[in-house]
Symmetry: C2
Subunit: 313 residues, 2 copies
């Protein structure tokens, strides 16, 4: 039994996770991201204490506390370096503090790395050694699991899969590069593409659901697609192609045993997974690319909790 | 002491390699790529026997014979699967045959994987655990070394770094994808870019060296660049940008400890390495990307021999 703590800029979610990866108790408290490091840490303590209060047997049984924290991090030393979203924790020795307060081993990593590990240990990537995990949502994050362990790279910054460019002359990404898959196929990019297609006055359920062109978000596109809307279908087909090109690059570099995708955009794109797999050999030199399972993540909104807990395996 | 054998569609090169990676004896014989598997194998035997004849002490001292063979291969089982350039060896158990004939352990891998390993063991990547190796020439090959071992992926087809696309709406690559770095920055792509710039009638030493527009090859661009030719400089600056974008993707996915590049185009691009490194943070979300050493390979034309020998370490 282990506790997973998912720390964000505005909230801390924590859960008790059993040996099959099931989350048996969950809580969520506000994060205190400004002020002192201790104030921020008090939110983490409060979340963990809430779990112990709900499951008193856990206090003796928990063998580790894992944490996902905004980066950059030094996972090996358990230190939060200088997260833009958590200014209070610059250089904060998070795992040492958790170990001191709760008396059990603690580990920290970024959320996509951790979520990828949880999928390999308990989820859709179970049974595979080398897995590429991606979370497709407002941003696109990734985790590379080699030999059932997180691959960190030189300083812990590997697996920035969302910032692989497939179109260096394309639109600018928030990161400063051009044509990153995050700039092309994230939630905001889906909304942008839909708005562009609708700007000419085309009728679509997307507009009815959104209430106006400026209000269009990715979830409206997803909902309209489920109603067979033609514009929504065209938008998601373009996104499917972009994801195919991107995954082709991943396969040609890493040839993973399995590709696991999660997040809101992944759920929206589920009906296209088979098509993406089939088309992968067109966008990979690897002619056996279609054999690589492309599967939906087990963990949705709880990926951070499960991932954090997986760090303690 | 080990023997490295580099098998191509038209020749077999072999060398005796000492424990520091120095190639002390070398030979080259024609490959017999049509006909029976045994005929093809006789060329390998002849190359190895030539080495033994030149260095008789090697017959007792050699601890392994490594081989680079055209793929696809099954490195784990030592089998050549169905190489387009070596039709005689479809399903051929190459390492078993070498072990039977020469009585020492044998290993096989593709040339870029093997050359990458040689660089890590004995060359420009020495001292690093995770290295991205690329050979830039007529094609672009790559090898990924993780934890000082070749990373093969699911079926041995990982590390096809030359077929990472950075421009999916760009020119078609020989592999069928669009905008692969091989289609944009290999030797033939450099020649194509130079011809395009010269087609309007611009004066350039490239044309004098080549003798005509249709005769322009990458080496003419390299030679003209060394003479400060403006068109050649403009061409190689464009190539440097394309390589920067591509390496940015590699860094964002793999964050290697070191990047080693070899091959004729790499030698031509040597004067741009520092600029590529400096610009890498513009094309990587990793803001420490410029710290990653970008270095010239130790092995040039002998990369296959050294690589093959490295497989026996």
């Amino acid at each position: 039994m282990r506790i997973g703590v998912d720390i964000g800029g505005t909230k801390v979610a924590a859960g008790l996770v059993d040996s099959s990866g099931a989350i048996t108790h969950k809580t969520r408290v506000p994060m205190i991201s400004a002020g002192t490091a201790a104030a921020g840490f008090s939110a983490v303590s409060a979340a963990v204490e809430t779990i112990f209060a709900a499951a008193p047997e856990a206090r003796a049984a928990v063998t580790g506390i894992g944490l996902c924290s905004p980066g950059p991090l030094d996972p090996a030393r358990g230190i939060v370096i200088n997260p833009p979203n958590l200014p209070c924790w610059r250089g904060f020795p998070l795992t040492a503090e958790v170990e001191r307060v709760f008396g059990v081993p603690a580990r920290v990593d970024n959320d996509a790395n951790a979520a990828g590990l949880a999928e390999v240990l308990w989820g859709a990537g179970q049974g595979y050694a080398n897995v590429f995990y991606a979370t497709l949502g407002t941003g696109i994050g990734a985790g590379i699991i080699f030999d059932r362990k997180i691959y960190h790279g030189r300083t812990g910054s590997a697996a920035e899969g969302g910032h692989v460019t497939i179109d260096y002359r394309g639109p600018r990404c928030g990161c400063g590069k051009f044509g990153c898959i995050e700039a092309l196929a994230s939630g905001p990019a889906i909304a942008r593409l839909a708005r562009a297609k609708l700007a000419g006055g085309t009728r679509s359920q997307i507009l009815e659901l959104a209430g106006g062109l400026d209000e269009v978000r990715a979830e409206h596109v997803g909902a309209a697609f489920r109603e067979d809307d033609a514009v929504a279908t065209a938008v998601l087909e373009e996104i499917a192609l972009l994801l195919t090109v991107w995954l082709g690059n991943i396969v040609d570099l890493l040839e993973p045993d399995c590709i696991v995708v999660g997040g809101g955009v992944a759920e929206m794109m589920g009906p296209f997974f088979e098509k993406i797999s089939c088309n992968l050999p067109r966008w990979a030199i690897n002619q056996r690319a279609a054999e690589i399972p492309l599967v939906m993540a087990r963990y949705g909104a709880d990926a951070g909790i499960a991932g954090a807990a997986a760090l303690c395996e």
